[in-house]
């Protein structure tokens, strides 16, 4: 039997990607760092490191520690700030034939609005991914994204101030993620991405100190995949807007699990450190799986769980 090259085109509401493979925020720098290792235009999209209005220098070290099949990071959302991104990174990113998604976060709800406004009309930024897992300064450092009401307010604020598709990225550190998902859907989010890292910690038994300068960090990598997959499955049944799934995806087989439970696209995070070519390999692996299984459009797989 003959199959033409499978159609990997992915429609995420208003956002069209050439394939469903996206690199996750914080694990792919500003994209350009991977140029020597990955054919960037083979990717569906690149999500850049979380941007704040002003540059942020981040948490005191140590900032990362390896755990069983995972890692904890407490980077503290260090980034060069929106201005430097627009001036130093975006012009070069624009030359690459792929979608660029700006991941944004604020310390107050207004800051989200200001970021959205500042990115309004900016050419070469194809969507916003709103990180609501960061600490809310007004609420004593609790994450915005654990309260459906606040998550909805952040979403509204961004939607009101942008002309771009809005992806809201959910935190897994909640009792019922579908409540937050429905809230941000109701507030106008075009797309939901999940999951961000799960809060964890590690201790050095010789010094009896936390292994991270910040005590707590976010767990990512293969260890969290079962939890991520469960949450994507739950959210896919709770909302109508498209989903981007992530959490521990190391290869195309992991990516397929997320598509099968209902994600239209996936993000590759920690795998970019372990195997810098991981994102491109996932694209190739998905394509081959489609050919081998007689799948003509990748969309046929989405939500195909029996």
């Amino acid at each position: 039997m003959f199959f033409p090259t499978p159609d990997l085109t992915t429609l995420l509401g208003p956002l069209e990607l050439k394939n469903p493979v996206i690199t996750a925020s914080g694990t792919f720098g500003y994209g350009l760092e991977y140029e020597p290792l990955v054919n960037l235009k083979a990717l569906g999209a690149i999500v850049v490191k979380g941007l704040s209005l002003k540059p942020i220098s981040g948490n005191p070290p140590p900032r990362i520690v390896e755990t069983a099949c995972g890692m904890l990071n407490a980077i503290g959302l260090a980034n060069i700030g929106l201005e430097a991104f627009l001036k130093d990174k975006l012009p070069r990113l624009r030359e690459i034939d792929t979608r660029v998604i700006a991941n944004i976060y604020g310390h107050h709800i207004e800051e989200y609005g200001e970021l959205a406004k500042a990115l309004k009309g900016v050419e070469g930024v194809h969507a916003l991914e709103v990180n609501v897992s960061c600490p809310n300064v007004e609420r004593g450092g609790m994450a915005f994204g654990i309260d459906p009401v606040i998550a909805a307010r952040v979403t509204e604020t961004v939607v009101r101030n942008t002309d771009k598709p809005v992806i809201v990225k959910l935190s897994p550190n909640v009792t019922d993620i579908t409540l937050v998902a429905k809230a941000v859907e109701g507030a106008g989010a075009d797309i939901i991405s999940l999951i961000n890292t799960i809060t964890g910690m590690a201790v050095d038994i010789e010094s009896r100190t936390p292994k991270l300068g910040n005590i707590f960090g976010g767990l990512s990598g293969p260890a969290i995949k079962p939890v991520a997959l469960r949450m994507v499955y739950q959210v896919a049944r709770a909302v109508k807007i498209p989903l981007i799934g992530m959490g521990g995806i190391m290869d195309y087989r992991d990516a397929l699990e997320f598509l099968i439970v209902g994600a239209q696209a996936v993000e590759i995070g920690t795998a970019n450190f372990v195997k810098p070519g991981a994102s491109q390999s996932v694209v190739e692996g998905l394509s081959k799986y489609c050919v081998d299984h007689g799948v003509k459009r990748i969309g046929e797989i989405v939500g195909s769980l029996k």
Binding site: G29, S57, R63, N73
Partner: protein, 270 residues
Amino acid sequence: MIKKGDDKAMIDGDAEILFNHQVNHDTWLLGLKRSEPAVTMKPGQFVMIRVRSGMDPLLRRPFSVCAVEKDHFKVLYRRVGKGTEIMTQAKPGENFQVLGPLGEGFVLPEEERLPVLVGGGIGVAPLFFLARLLYRRNLEFMMGFRSAGDIIPFDELRLPNHRWSVSTDDGTAGHAGFVTDLLLLYLDKNRGLPLSLFACGPRPMLKKTAETAITYGIPCQVSLESAMACGFGVCQGCAVKTAPQESSAYHYVCRNGPVFPAEAIDWEAL
């Protein structure tokens, strides 16, 4: 001063293990095949090695380049945990996935300054490479180990005929005490001589060396270690606090370093 690693030469791929033999009770010398390392790898640079496929251990491990030959390079490593334990079991003919060369290496010393290399423990590894590169010049190489049994049999590494001296913490070989004692003795004896310091080793040793260099007004480059996830400036995990006069609060060991001028680092915070 923020430097930025040159990624032009960075490649990721399988490297064949040419040899992997034990040189003392806890140290191994590993030879990895790669075409033209002598051209692309500089002393002080490092590579990220995936010690086995599979997901535990998950992250690659950083190792300094210890020597380069035409078609391969060497890594001198100490068995300290599960990653390095697994490495000791690798056999010639097998492969490691290797990313590199990475980071900013040592800036070579000016002609008029005598290079003084100060290494502690496995920290001697990148200094061996530097010493080989400076084989035409006079230099002073000081190494500190915990005990006689920990001394790296560096003759095997075909070092040029440099002056070297050894200290051991327990006095079982060479000078009894720290390698920084050797340094202080040397500085006292050679006041006025224009020197250039190069140091790699445990943090307390680096701190002492850096503070000494700053006090004596001697240019000093230190090679730092830090936990790393990516190795090329992406994850921002390898931050070290910078000295107050620096323009940013943190440097990234993998990309702005691992080699830094002593003045760039906040030694109090380290």
